[in-house]
C-alpha cells in the first residue's frame, strides 16, 4: 500500500515523461509539456536556476505557443539560455535532464520555433495558430460535422434533394475551439487544419 503512495509521489520518471512528450507533434508543445511536468513533479524548489528558471521558461513557451502579445525571437533565446544554464548550474539530475531535453528539442526543430513567432505552427497543434476550414470541393453537405460540434461553430444547411441553392458549410473561427470532433466524423475528409501563415495541401487526419 505504502509503495503505491511512494510511487505516486515520486512522479513520473524521465522515460515516462519523454514517451508522453512524443505524443505531441509540435516541438513547442513538447517542451511545454516537459516543463510543466517538471514544475508539477517533486523538486527541491530551492536552487535558483531550476526553480525560478523553469517558471520563466514556462511563461516564454506559453507566449510562443499561444502567440501572445510581445512574442519575439528573444523568447527563444531566453529559453535556450535558461536551459543551458540549468544543465550547467543545477543541483540535481532532474534539472539537468530537463535542460538537456529542451536544448535537444530546440536544436532539432529551431525552424519550427521561429515559425511560431511569425504566427504559424508547422505541426498544426498550437491552438492559437491553426484554423479548421471546410474544403467546399470535398464537402457533400451531409451535416454530420454540424451535429458533432458542441460549440455550434459550424453553420450551413444540410443538402436536401428538393432544395435548390444552398448555404455552404463553414466553420465560424470565433467559436471553434479546435477540439477536432468534426474532423473525426467527416466522411470525405473535407475539413482541413491549416496554419495561418503557411497553407498546405489537404491533410486527412485519421
Amino acid at each position: 500500500m505504502s509503495e503505491e503512495i511512494l510511487a505516486e509521489e515520486k512522479g513520473k520518471n524521465l522515460e515516462e515523461i519523454k514517451k508522453e512528450a512524443e505524443n505531441k507533434a509540435c516541438p513547442v508543445q513538447r517542451n511545454l509539456y516537459f516543463i510543466e511536468e517538471f514544475i508539477a513533479g517533486p523538486m527541491c524548489g530551492r536552487g535558483y536556476p531550476c526553480a525560478l528558471g523553469t517558471q520563466e521558461a514556462k511563461i516564454r513557451l506559453l507566449r510562443i505557443s499561444q502567440h501572445l502579445e510581445g512574442v519575439s525571437p528573444s523568447d527563444v533565446e531566453a529559453i535556450r539560455r535558461i536551459a543551458s544554464n540549468m544543465i550547467e548550474g543545477s543541483f540535481c539530475k532532474k534539472g539537468k535532464d530537463t535542460g538537456r531535453f529542451v536544448i535537444e528539442t530546440l536544436a532539432k526543430s529551431e525552424d519550427d520555433f521561429n515559425q511560431h513567432i511569425s504566427g504559424a505552427c508547422p505541426k498544426k497543434e498550437c491552438i492559437n495558430l491553426i484554423e479548421y476550414v471546410i474544403n467546399p470541393e470535398l464537402c457533400i453537405m451531409c451535416g454530420k460535422c454540424q451535429e458533432s460540434c458542441k460549440y455550434n461553430a459550424i453553420v450551413g444547411e444540410k443538402r436536401e434533394l428538393y432544395l435548390s441553392g444552398y448555404l455552404p458549410f463553414e466553420i465560424r473561427q470565433k467559436r471553434c475551439t479546435r477540439c477536432g470532433e468534426c474532423v473525426k466524423v467527416c466522411p470525405t475528409g473535407a475539413i482541413e487544419i491549416i496554419t495561418t501563415k503557411i497553407e498546405e495541401e489537404v491533410v486527412s487526419n485519421k
Partner: protein
C-alpha cells in the same frame, strides 16, 4: 595546512576549510547569496560555482573542502554566465528600488548586479504580492524583497528559536512564521539575528526608513551592558544620535548575538525619565539645581559623615568608574562601606576567577544556570550553547529544575546541584578506577550494560578534549571540585567559570569594590550608615526609601529609588562613555562612546573626581595600565572543598535583569513587548 591555487594565487588554508573561506584568505571574493559563514554550505543559490582542474562539472565552493594541490578557477566563462543568469532571474522578481532602498550600499544583490553589469532583468517581471509584516516596532518583514536565500531560516534554526521557515516551493515560496502569523504571535524573541544576516532589504529594523543611508552612518564598536553576557555590538550613529544597533561579533562567530534589550533599548537614551540636571529635594519634590550647588551639598554631607557613609553600586559600571569609586571611597571619604549588587548573587571569590575559552569547548557543563532567550536571562549563552551543540559539541545540564535548554542536553542530571556534583565526582573516580583495572571489559560489556546518566556523563568527560563548566556563582566553589578531581585523575581539566547576572561583575570585583564594612543588603536597608550614596540603576528596590539621614542617587535615569533621594546627580549612560569591562569569560573588552551625553550629565568618574577636588584631595583619571594591573588575578591552586551551594544568593535572575534594565525597558519600544505579553497572559 593545505596548499592550493586559486585564480593563480598560492593559498595556504587549514584542513577542512571550504573554498569560499580559503579564497577570502587570498582576498578573492567568490560571489554567494545563501552562504553563511560558520555554517555548512547548502548550495541553493549556485552563485559560488567554481571550476576545479580535473573535474568535469563546476562544484559549489561553499561546501567543497580544500585539498592539497587543488587548482581552482573562480571566474571562468561558464560560471560567470551562470552567475549572471541567477542574478538576472532574481532581479526579475525583485522590486528595482535601489533609489530609495535602505539597504543601498550594503546590498549583495546590488553589488553583484553592478559587477555583472545588469541594468535590468531580461526576463519577465514577476511580483509576489505578499504583504509586509510591520505590526511590531522591532522588525519589519517585506517578502517582496526576499530573494529566498534561506539565511534567516538557518540562523533562527541553529540558535534554537525556530521561528522562520519556507512556506511553499519554487517561485511562490515565502519565508514566514508558522501559519503565516505576524511576528509577535509567534515565538519570536525579537533578537534580530535574522536582520543581521539578510543580504537584501527583506528583514530590517522597523524604524529604519528615513533614518539615513548606510554610508551616512558612523559605526562604533562597543559592548552591551544589559546582562552578564556583555555582547559585542556595532552602534550606527548619524548626526550625533543612535540610529541602530547590530551584533558586533564577526560574521560566522559562534558568539554573534544581541537580544532585543541590547538591540532596541537605545530609545531610552532620550526617554522622559532621563535625568538631565542635578536635582535637590525641596518640600518633598525634586527641584533642578546647578552642579556647583549639588557638589557643595554632597561634599558637605560626605565630609560630615566620614566613616558612616555607605557606597552601593550596580555592576553595570565600567572598570574605570569602579576604580575611581574605590579610590574616592577609601582614600577621600575614608569609609569601608563599599559594596555592589553582585553580593545579591555572588561572592567575590567566584568573580575573581580565571578565564575560559568557550569557542574551543567540545563539552559544556552548566550548573544551576538557566540561560534562556525567551525570558532574556543570559540569552547569548543560550544561543551559543545551542549553536555549539548543533555543530557537534556535547552538553551536560545539572539543575534542580527543568530549564528549557535541557532539551538539547546530551545528558540531563536533574536534582539538587550540590549532591549531583558530588555524585558526578564519585562516578568519575570510579570509572577511572575500573578502566585501570580491566580496560578490555569496558569495550566488551559496555554496549550491553545500561549506563546510568552519571556514567554517561563520566564517559563524556573522559572523551572530551576541552571542557568548560559554566556555573551560577553560588555553585562555583562546588564546581571547582570537579576540576580538582579531574586533575588528580589525569583527565582533561575543565575550565570553570562563574557566570554573573550583571555585565561587568568580574571587572568591578577586580577593581576592588568589595566591602570591608557593611554589606549591600545592610546598606540598602539603611542599617548603620548615615549617608547612602547609590550609583547606577539599583535593582529590586520597590521605591521604598532606605532609612538613612541623607540619600544621594547617581544615575542616568530617574528610578523609583531616585525619586526618594535628597540629591540626584545625572550620569552618562553606557553608550555615552568610554571604558573597559571584564566579561564573564574573563576577557578585557573595550566600550566605546557612541554619542554625547546630555549637557549636564557626566560620567561616573568625572563626578567622583569633581567631588574629590572639592573635598581637598585630587584623584586622577585611571590610566589603562592601572586598569590592566588590577585585572591581573593570581591563579592559586584550586583545592577541594565541600560540595555545597553557598547560601544567601537565591535571587530570581529574571526579576533581577528586568529590574536592572527597568529604565531601558520602560523608556523604549520594549515597553510595547511587555504590554503585548501581559495581554496574551490575560
Amino acid at each position: 595546512m593545505v596548499k592550493l591555487k586559486i585564480d593563480g594565487k598560492e593559498v595556504q588554508a587549514p584542513e577542512g576549510m571550504n573554498i569560499i573561506d580559503a579564497a577570502e584568505l587570498a582576498e578573492i571574493h567568490i560571489p554567494n547569496l545563501c552562504y553563511l559563514k560558520g555554517m555548512k554550505g547548502i548550495g541553493a543559490c549556485r552563485m559560488c560555482l567554481v571550476e576545479i582542474e580535473g573535474m568535469k562539472a563546476p562544484v559549489i565552493a561553499c561546501n567543497t573542502r580544500v585539498k592539497d594541490g587543488m587548482v581552482v578557477n573562480t571566474k571562468t566563462d561558464k560560471v560567470q554566465e551562470i552567475r549572471k543568469f541567477v542574478i538576472d532571474l532574481i532581479l526579475s522578481m525583485h522590486p528595482l528600488d535601489c533609489m530609495t532602498c535602505t539597504k543601498a550600499g550594503v546590498c549583495n544583490l546590488q553589488k553583484y548586479a553592478y559587477d555583472f553589469e545588469l541594468k535590468e532583468s531580461s526576463f519577465t517581471r514577476k511580483k509576489s504580492g505578499y504583504p509586509a509584516d510591520a505590526a511590531n516596532p522591532f522588525i519589519k518583514r517585506d517578502p517582496e524583497y526576499c530573494i529566498l536565500c534561506g539565511r534567516c531560516v538557518r540562523v533562527c534554526k541553529t540558535q534554537g528559536t525556530n521561528v522562520l521557515d519556507f512556506m511553499g516551493r519554487g517561485i511562490i515560496s515565502k519565508v514566514t512564521t508558522a501559519n503565516d502569523k505576524p511576528l509577535q504571535e509567534s515565538e519570536c524573541t525579537f533578537c534580530g539575528s535574522c536582520v543581521d544576516v539578510c543580504p537584501v532589504n527583506a528583514l530590517l529594523e522597523a524604524d529604519r526608513w528615513r533614518k539615513g543611508r548606510e554610508w551616512d552612518y558612523e559605526k562604533i564598536r562597543s559592548q552591551c551592558l544589559s546582562c552578564g553576557n556583555g555582547c559585542d555590538i556595532i552602534v550606527s550613529t548619524k548626526d550625533g544620535e543612535v540610529a541602530k544597533i547590530n551584533a558586533g561579533a564577526p560574521g560566522g562567530s559562534y558568539e554573534r548575538y544581541i537580544c532585543a534589550i541590547g538591540r532596541f533599548g537605545f530609545d531610552s537614551l532620550k526617554s522622559d525619565t532621563r535625568v538631565t540636571s542635578p536635582m535637590k529635594r525641596v518640600d518633598n519634590e525634586l527641584k533642578e539645581i546647578t552642579w556647583n550647588e549639588a557638589v557643595s551639598i554632597v561634599s558637605g554631607k560626605l565630609k560630615e559623615a566620614g566613616e558612616s557613609v555607605g557606597f552601593i553600586s550596580t555592576a553595570g559600571i565600567l572598570n574605570e568608574d569602579a576604580l575611581t569609586l574605590k579610590k574616592f571611597a577609601s582614600d577621600v571619604v575614608k569609609t569601608k562601606n563599599i559594596d555592589t549588587s553582585i553580593s545579591l548573587y555572588a561572592d567575590a571569590e567566584s568573580m575573581r576567577a580565571e578565564d575560559a575559552n568557550l569557542e574551543k569547548a567540545d563539552l559544556m557543563v552548566i550548573v544551576g544556570l538557566n540561560p534562556d532567550q525567551w525570558t532574556r536571562v543570559l540569552p547569548a549563552i543560550d544561543a551559543i550553547i545551542r549553536r555549539k551543540v548543533n555543530a557537534g559539541a556535547k552538553l551536560i545540564v545539572i539543575n534542580s529544575g527543568e530549564p528549557r535548554i535541557a532539551s538539547v542536553a546530551t545528558v540531563n542530571l536533574k536534582g539538587n546541584e550540590a549532591s549531583t556534583l558530588s555524585m558526578l565526582a564519585k562516578t568519575l573516580e570510579e570509572s577511572q578506577k575500573s578502566k585501570v583495572k580491566s580496560p578490555e571489559s569496558e569495550t566488551k560489556g559496555a554496549e550491553e550494560k545500561e549506563t546510568s546518566p552519571f556514567e554517561k556523563a563520566a564517559e563524556l568527560f573522559a572523551k572530551a578534549k576541552n571542557i568548560v563548566i559554566l556555573a551560577v556563582p553560588s555553585l562555583y566553589a562546588a564546581s571547582t571540585n570537579i576540576a580538582v578531581i579531574a586533575n588528580k585523575l589525569l583527565l582533561p581539566v575543565p575550565e570553570v567559570v562563574a557566570v554573573p547576572i550583571e555585565a561587568n561583575a568580574k571587572g568591578v570585583t577586580l577593581m576592588g569594590l568589595v566591602t570591608e564594612g557593611r554589606s549591600y543588603k545592610e546598606m540598602i536597608a539603611g542599617k548603620a550608615v548615615k549617608v547612602l550614596y547609590a550609583v547606577g540603576e539599583i535593582p529590586l528596590n520597590s521605591g521604598v526609601r532606605p532609612k538613612v539621614d541623607f540619600l544621594i542617587v547617581q544615575n542616568s535615569h530617574l528610578t523609583s529609588l531616585a525619586k526618594q533621594a535628597d540629591i540626584v546627580l545625572p550620569s552618562a549612560a553606557v553608550l555615552e562613555s568610554d571604558g573597559t569591562i571584564v566579561d564573564y569569560l574573563g576577557r578585557l573588552k573595550k566600550v566605546q562612546k557612541a554619542v554625547e551625553p546630555p549637557e549636564d550629565a557626566k560620567t561616573h568618574r568625572e563626578i567622583f573626581i569633581k567631588l574629590a577636588k572639592v573635598l581637598g584631595k585630587a584623584i586622577k583619571k585611571p590610566s589603562e595600565t592601572a586598569v590592566k594591573k588590577a585585572t591581573k588575578v593570581k591563579k592559586g591552586k584550586p583545592s577541594m572543598g565541600p560540595f555545597k551551594k553557598q547560601e544567601g544568593f537565591d535571587i530570581d535572575p529574571v526579576e533581577m535583569i528586568e529590574s536592572l534594565n527597568a529604565s531601558v525597558i520602560n523608556g523604549s519600544r520594549l515597553l510595547w513587548l511587555k504590554e503585548v505579553e501581559k495581554a496574551v497572559e490575560a
